[in-house]
């Protein structure tokens, strides 16, 4: 019977055909034995693919990982998290301050008739290197101010005004070092209120009719009485080559900056560069950046990868659009093929990108700091954690984002080495301080004291976390290690609550003026850790008589309906932080409106002052001092119950070591050790895999 035979034979044939392929595939051992080059390849696995390989356009971690290998910034951070030069060989920071001659102010009791006297007075001060007088200027200018929102899009409508000004003499004072207190100090020379009494409105007239009432605001904008302009001069490294052999110079820095601020390119980095007043090329290897105001965190943004101007300038983009047959008018940097085939100055050269499969980089033989030891760098996309682990066992990947419980399995295996360190972020319970319930800091402190955070760390985080007491990165010196977290003490918590007026009623619930202490604690869905903390907190608070309801909300609803609108009692959330100690967006009282990040409504005058001072301070020691004070205030106010900072973990094959050529010509092999701040891959370019497991002196 033919049909019967077909029905039986067909599946058999198919399975034989499929399964015989097994014998053609080499096992991992054979792969490496027959392929010694594998030792010079580094393969790393990640869950998600990169989006766009252009440092000024990308905002995801996969893209940044690749960009960090392909591109170099002007600066980056060293082992101690201090800035060091990369494409910039060095830099100088100083300041230019401006103020207007105030004809009405009295200096030392006398009205000064001309600006020369003031120049003479200032020139004696030692932080001042130069005082220049800008002659009076007349003119007209257009200015845009924010008016009422008439079209209802939630943004104020701009009003364009024509303004005529007649500015008096202006002083441009160059300071040796940035000094945010310059004008306060100068009041001792020029008299108290010299700067404040300058009436800009005396020198400005609004020509556009019907807006005379806005004169003082407009005048202050056109002729600001005082202005701080910090200046950075970068000295670029000479002889650095892009991967295509073109030399890197100041034109590329200028181009990168301009590409970011060009609104056509929709760069997510625009906010970083908004404080820049202008960028000027001094010569081929010297760039001057002038800022509109004191803003220290702006310095760190020069870690941004530098783009090759010669490949991306408007002419090149236009040629590319024409070659692709697209309309050059609508074709921007975003559409360029460069974003899938980047060219930078970094230690690795881009070779190939297969979407959702892998990205391969080759080493840059002419890298200015010396070529890396690894011949190639491969970024594999394996979206599943368990499969990543399987591939790691087999040696098909050298590194992956290992989970704490996976580290447990590998910890005692002599074939592997593992690392862990603190990450830049923390998890907290935030209280909505606009609500009556949480206005009293004793209540907030008591709530924190009722939760046993150490147990959360032990049982929820498998000890892969540490306690944290404030909003700074724990391994930096901005963080004050002297501050102790509130102790776990339910009795003490009840005591504090009693002081605040909350007493237990006959049923055991806390009550004040006949009202029960009840609120809702929420967090976002999809995060099992937060879910566990939610339950633990609810239970801990129930034990001291607080009636807590909990809710888990889908992320977008959580943000849109609760966080952004301030419609919540208490929530569990986490912040990931930058190293810079700038807390403005999250803690300044001006940022507590809808859609802003100070959604708990933290409002403390002294803290506000410190937050502004920190971002304006260019001196590290002073910054640290202000940060410690701010840290103390926040720890005292307890707007959040700070829970923990998580640890990252990493596992590598033990055969991977640091290999470095000594000046004597010999090669030294060292074990990989993390830096003080916990960065184990800091010397990545010197890593290499050995064929045999190495034995180090220390281990014997």
């Amino acid at each position: 019977m033919l049909i019967k035979k077909v029905l039986i034979l067909l599946p058999v044939i198919i399975f034989v055909l499929l399964l015989q392929s097994f014998f053609w595939v080499p096992t991992y051992d054979e792969q490496v034995r027959g392929n010694p080059l594998r030792l010079e390849e580094f393969i790393i696995a990640a869950i998600g693919d990169a989006r766009i390989l252009n440092p000024i356009l990308s905002a995801d971690s996969s893209s940044s990982t690749i960009e960090a290998q392909v591109f170099d910034g002007l600066i980056d951070r060293d082992e101690e998290l201090k800035f060091r030069g990369r494409l910039a060989a060095g830099w100088k920071i100083y300041e230019e301050v401006y103020f207007y001659f105030n004809p009405k102010a009295a200096v030392n009791g006398r009205i000064i008739s001309g600006p020369e006297t003031i120049r003479a007075l200032l020139s004696q001060k030692d932080n001042i290197t130069d005082v220049a007088i800008i002659p009076p200027q007349k003119g007209e200018t257009d200015i845009q101010i924010a008016g009422p929102d008439t079209n209802g899009d939630g943004f104020p409508d701009p009003i364009n005004l024509k303004v005529r000004f007649n500015a008096p003499h202006r002083f441009k004072v160059t300071l040796r070092e940035v000094d945010q207190d310059f004008f306060t100090k100068m009041e001792s020379v020029l008299g108290k209120g010299y700067f404040k009494t300058f009436q800009a409105s005396d020198h400005v007239r609004i020509i556009t009719e019907g807006h005379e009432d806005k004169l003082s605001a407009v005048a202050a904008q056109v002729l600001p009485a005082t202005e701080h302009n910090p200046v950075i001069i970068f000295d670029l490294r000479k002889g650095v080559k892009f991967h295509d052999g073109h030399e890197f110079d100041s034109g590329d820095v200028k181009f990168t900056y301009e590409a970011i601020i060009d609104p056509k390119n929709l760069s997510p980095r625009v906010p970083d560069y908004e404080p820049v007043k202008y960028l000027e090329v001094i010569d081929r290897y010297k760039v001057k950046v002038v800022y509109k105001r004191l803003y220290f965190p702006a310095f760190g943004t020069w870690g941004m990868g530098m783009l090759p101007e010669h490949l991306l300038n408007p002419g090149a983009i236009k040629r590319e659009a024409e070659a692709k047959g697209e309309d050059p008018a609508g074709f921007t940097l975003r559409d360029s093929g460069f974003n899938r085939h980047p060219v930078g100055t970094g230690p690795f050269v881009f070779r190939e990108w297969k979407s959702d499969q892998y990205i391969v980089l080759d080493r840059h033989e002419d890298y200015w700091e010396g070529a890396p030891n690894y011949r190639s760098y491969t970024y594999r996309i394996v979206p599943d954690l368990l499969t990543q682990e399987m591939e790691f066992y087999g040696g098909a990947i050298d590194s992956y984002g290992v989970q704490p419980h996976q580290v447990e399995r590998l910890k005692d295996d002599p074939a592997y080495q593992n690392f862990s360190g603190l990450s830049f972020g923390y998890t907290y319970i935030g209280y909505n301080m606009r609500r009556e319930l949480f206005k009293d800091k004793r209540v907030r402190k008591a709530l924190g004291m009722a939760i046993d955070t150490d147990k959360i760390i032990r049982y929820v985080m498998y000890d892969q976390a540490e306690r944290i007491t404030g909003p700074f990165v724990k391994q930096t010196d901005y963080y004050d290690r002297g501050i102790q977290p509130p102790p776990y003490d339910p009795e003490g918590a009840l005591e504090l609550l009693r002081e605040a007026g909350w007493v237990r009623n006959s049923e055991g619930w806390l009550e004040k003026d006949g009202k029960r202490f009840a609120f809702t604690l929420i967090t976002n869905g999809g995060n099992d850790l937060r879910k566990s903390i939610l339950t633990i907190a609810q239970d801990a608070w129930k034990k001291i008589g607080i009636d807590v309801k909990t809710d888990i909300v889908e992320w977008s609803v959580f943000i849109g309906r609760h966080v952004n609108t301030g419609n919540f009692d208490a929530l569990i959330l986490g912040w990931s932080m930058g190293i810079d100690p700038d807390l403005y967006q999250i803690w300044h009282s001006s940022q507590s409106n809808q859609n802003q990040l100070n959604f708990v409504g933290f409002n403390n005058k002294e803290a506000d002052d410190l937050i502004v001072k920190i971002r304006q301070e260019y001196d590290h020691d002073k910054q640290v001092e202000y940060c410690h004070r701010l840290h103390r205030i926040i720890a005292d106010e307890q707007p959040y119950t700070f829970l923990y900072v998580g640890k990252w973990t990493a596992v590598l094959d033990r055969k991977i070591v640091i290999k470095e050529a000594l000046p004597s010509g010999e090669e030294e092999i060292r074990k990989i050790t993390p830096t003080r701040t916990g960065n184990y891959s800091f010397y990545f370019n010197k890593w290499i895999k050995l064929a045999e497991n190495p034995v180090f002196e220390m281990e014997r």
Partner: protein, 319 residues
């Protein structure tokens, strides 16, 4: 026949129009916004976000967005929000990868289900029948990702052989035949896993159909004529039992586009299902909507093919 084709074509066009509206609304009205408009990036000002909304046309009224979206789709200008690559190109790239999984998976499903189902029906209540029934229920009730993990761990630990992705990493230097076989090997596990659920369902279905048919009068007639058992079952029984499966054949077409999200994710297979899933996570509306739209088109084409096939195999049916 011709009038049916024309009528059905226009009916399906109308259906497609409504599907396009509904799927558009579902995607656009769902809470959350594209990840570019990340509300928790502290440095973004409202104006910056507004620029992104403008670029993605999100500030326009819904009907205009709908028009712009489909206009761009049909003129081939639609670009993914994630990386500015043309959507159709991206989908085609992935389609080629998913196609292999689909073909091999379907082949395994259909080739295995029929013999198993028929044998179980003929030997009803035998040990074979009962064990396949048991197995089918096991396969249906245990999720495929679980099997996938077990199988991967088993294969990797026992044979020390790679199974993840579309090919072994670092094989690019090997001879042609090795590379082909390597790719075949990487197809084996995911396609078998993808087929398991289908085999369990389809073999049950075949069994039921076969059982129904062999109790018909014409089977008794065939037996009475003195035909051999094989001839009775395979010529008279099987052919008639086959009818409903002809229609099913048209309906598997949409599976092409859906791919298998879970299997593709676990095996790091760069296919359609995984792309769709990742697009949903990133709220990359152009990709989500296009995949959705193509799936709808395939469903409609599938039903149309089923109708036609049914007419071909069963002369009693007139449309």
């Amino acid at each position: 026949m011709f009038s049916f084709t024309v009528r059905s074509f226009f009916q399906k066009l109308v259906t497609l129009f409504f599907i396009s509206i509904i799927s558009f609304l579902v995607v656009y009205l769902a809470p959350g916004e594209p990840s570019q408009i990340d509300p928790l990036n502290p440095k973004f000002t409202a104006e910056d976000l507004q620029r992104f909304r403008q670029e993605f046309n999100l500030d326009k009224p819904l009907q205009e967005q709908y028009y712009l979206y489909y206009k761009n789709l049909f003129t081939g200008q639609l670009k993914s929000w994630k990386d500015n690559q043309p959507v159709l190109g991206k989908i085609y790239e992935r389609f080629k990868n998913s196609l292999w999984l689909f073909i091999v998976g379907t082949l395994i499903t259909w080739c295995l289900s029929f013999p198993v189902g028929i044998h179980a029906a003929i030997r009803r209540r035998s040990f074979f029948d009962r064990s396949t029934t048991f197995l089918a229920y096991v396969l249906i009730s245990i999720p495929s990702f679980f099997f996938a993990y077990i199988l991967i761990i088993f294969v990797v630990k026992t044979f020390n052989i790679p199974v993840i992705g579309m090919q072994t990493f670092g094989m690019s230097g090997a001879a042609g035949i090795y590379q082909v076989m390597d790719r075949v090997w990487h197809l084996v596990l995911p396609s078998i896993l993808g087929a398991l659920g289908g085999i369990a369902l389809l073999s049950r279905y075949v069994r039921a159909q076969m059982l129904e048919v062999i109790h018909q009068d014409y089977i008794r007639t065939a037996r009475a004529k003195g035909l051999s058992e094989d001839q009775v079952y395979y010529r008279h029984g099987f052919r008639n039992a086959l009818l409903p499966f002809v229609t099913m054949f048209g309906l598997i077409l949409p599976g092409l586009i859906g791919g298998s999200v879970i299997i593709e994710s676990i095996f790091a297979w760069p296919g359609m299902g995984r792309m769709g899933y990742e697009a949903i996570l990133a709220r990359d509306y152009p990709i989500i909507l296009t995949i959705n739209f193509m799936a709808a088109v395939l469903v409609l084409i599938g039903t149309f093919i089923s109708d036609l096939l049914y007419m071909v195999v069963d002369p009693r049916i007139r449309l």
